[in-house]
């Protein structure tokens, strides 16, 4: 069953059409790759899904409900969480605090409970969840370090942790492998698989073809805002139009 359906989504910025009548479906539990040359509209697609942009036209349907145009915090509450293309963390906070922000949906409290300490149970549960995720991501040893002090690989793992702590149904990952060395890439691939095995549907935007081909069950290829091809990694690898777009465009 499709958990997420993109239906004829168009997004224009002034005269520029970043997405042109894009449609695709994401199946529950899969890792879906969204690939394409620079400027193809991949990040724009994510921002439309996550509520940071409103599509100019078209629908985004999540579990049968139209979600296009809803604000980001509502969409993340419904279970769709994005990560950011550039490493985006609360650099000035510790690893633990970073991940703790991720537990906002379950851990949020009103100001009176906060002052009187009535939310202690809730906060303890949130801390537990955070430690569980940090363990899972191999970050628990670094929990008191500032995010800015982490090596790149751990920063990416932390970005993923923040999203995971919020217990999403779908995670939109924007280039989590960018700038990584082969060792870090392998580690990140393992983590990504573990996340998928825990039951979270993943949509992955990535240029690293080794990671994409190794991880994804299905791929959607965008080029100049248009869907160029869809299929299994095997299909895509042999698709003439895709090869041309990648080689000819560069």
């Amino acid at each position: 069953m499709a958990i997420l359906e993109i239906k004829n989504v168009t997004k224009q910025f002034g005269g520029l059409t970043a997405l042109n009548d894009v449609s695709f479906q994401v199946e529950e539990g899969e890792i879906r790759g969204l690939i394409g040359p620079n400027g193809a509209g991949k990040s724009t697609m994510f921002k439309n899904i996550a509520g940071f942009y409103t599509p100019t036209s078209g629908n985004i349907v999540y579990r049968g409900e139209n979600i296009e145009g809803k604000p980001p915090h509502t969409i993340s509450e419904m279970g769709i969480v994005r990560t950011f293309q550039e490493t985006t963390l609360f650099q000035e906070m510790t690893v633990f605090e970073n991940a703790l922000v991720g537990s906002h949906i379950k851990g949020r409290t009103d100001i009176f409970s906060a002052v009187l300490g009535l939310d202690q149970k809730k906060q303890e549960a949130a801390s537990e969840k955070v430690m569980e995720v940090l363990d899972f991501m191999g970050l628990s040893d670094r929990k008191d370090q500032y995010a800015s002090e982490l090596p790149l690989g751990s920063q990416r793992a932390l970005a993923l942790s923040i999203a995971l702590v919020s217990e999403p149904k779908i995670m939109l990952m924007d280039e989590p492998f960018a700038g990584m060395n082969p060792e870090e890439t392998n580690h990140m691939m393992d983590l990504t698989r573990k996340v998928q095995e825990s039951g979270i549907t993943l949509v992955l935007v990535e240029h690293d073809m080794k990671a994409v081909m190794g991880l994804c069950h299905h791929l959607t290829v965008l080029n100049f805002g248009v869907v160029l091809a869809q299929g299994t990694p095997e299909d895509i690898r042999n698709n003439e139009k895709v090869i041309e777009a990648y080689l000819g465009g560069a």
Binding site: A50, F52, P71, P72, H73, S76, E77, V81, R82, T83, F84, T88, L89, F90, Q91, E92, M93, E97, L100, V101, G102, H104, I105, G107, R108, T109, I111, A114, V115, G117, D119, Q123, A126, Y146, S148, E149, I162, A163, V165, S166
Partner: protein
């Protein structure tokens, strides 16, 4: 959000010494300085409540006017209904909070520079109301004749009782503000400051939290305004204008805005300093200004950062990393 135990013997002893010092201070001061001590105590609440507003990274220029809203509210209730301070203070805070809540809708659509200017304009509009509606607010002369309460035979018009009373009220407010900052609410406010989109991506409604900080901060400064007018006896539009706002900003910036106690240090040190150069008469503003410029140049993180710097200069411990954020 640390689970550190703060009730150690050492901490209790320090707290007792601090309390004794605070209680003893007025007895060593002349009448005029006792007055100043009361205003200083109230100004501590002013800067701490301002800090809450700035936690989300938005600096407003309406805080002084919000203090005025509290002062005018308390004055009107006292003058027309004869309400004592015990009753006017909650209304003083409440009125400022209410006005802040209404202003959220236009103001919080703006951020950064626009918010700064927008908040200034809104504040001026409120001040103009005080000036124009002479019948209600007394025009440029403002309102006068507000009195301190009498309770159990204690007349709080005397500086020492009023100081103790202010100290108590301000301490309770600071405790609440401290709890807020160190709770999940505070964490969320910090998160919005550092990376609002990331916070929103995990379900934070940034607008609501900005509004919350603005409203709660305004509540406490409104209360401070009420506390002030019941001692000073009068309030006028000029007292609560951009001039006082600039002082609030200076106290917070010179003290350092990365830690809870930074602004407190700022307001205390600068008030004492300002008093100590009183003998220089005409040179006073120049000296004051020079000290400000020097402190901003050489201590961009504020007075609060001095201990850490000294430690690293003398090589005691290691404090190379100076995160611009509270580590409490």
């Amino acid at each position: 959000m640390n689970k550190k135990n703060i009730l150690t013997v050492q901490n209790v002893v320090w707290a007792a010494i601090l309390l004794a010092a605070l209680l003893a201070t007025p007895h060593f001061l002349k009448f005029y300085h006792q007055d100043l001590l009361i205003y200083l105590t109230i100004n501590v609440l002013v800067v701490c409540s301002y800090r809450l507003v700035t936690l989300t990274g938005e600096w407003s220029l309406i805080h002084a006017v919000m203090m005025g809203v509290g002062a005018y509210t308390a004055s009107l209730l006292f003058i027309h209904f004869g309400l004592d301070m015990w009753f006017t203070l909650p209304f003083a805070g409440g009125a400022a909070a209410l006005i802040a809540a209404l202003l959220c809708f236009p103001l919080l659509r703006m951020t950064q520079f626009y918010f700064l200017i927008g908040s200034f304009a809104a504040g001026e509009a409120i001040r103009l109301t005080w000036i124009e509606f002479v019948g209600v607010f007394g025009g440029t002369g403002g309102l006068r004749g507000v009195e301190a309460p009498i309770l159990w035979g204690i007349d709080f018009i005397d500086p020492i009782p009023y100081y103790y009373l202010s100290l108590f009220i301000v301490s309770v407010c600071l405790f609440i503000l401290y709890r807020i900052e160190n709770s999940r609410v505070g964490l969320t406010l910090h998160a919005i400051h550092w990376k609002a989109p990331l916070a929103e991506s995990v379900g934070v409604n940034a607008w609501r939290y900005r509004a919350l900080a603005f409203i709660v901060g305004s509540f406490f400064v409104g209360l401070a305004g009420g506390l002030k007018v019941h001692y000073l006896g009068s309030v006028s539009p000029n007292q609560m204008g951009i001039g006082f706002m600039v002082f609030i900003l200076i106290w917070v910036i010179v003290g350092g805005y990365n830690k809870f106690y930074g602004p407190i240090i700022g307001v205390i040190v600068l008030t004492v300093f300002d008093e100590s150069i009183r003998t220089f008469e005409v040179l006073r503003p120049a000296i004051y200004g020079a000290v400000l410029i020097l402190s901003v140049l050489f201590l961009p993180l504020g007075l609060e950062s001095i201990p850490g710097r000294l430690r690293s200069w003398f090589g005691v411990g290691s404090t190379p990393h100076e995160p611009p954020l509270t580590d409490q």
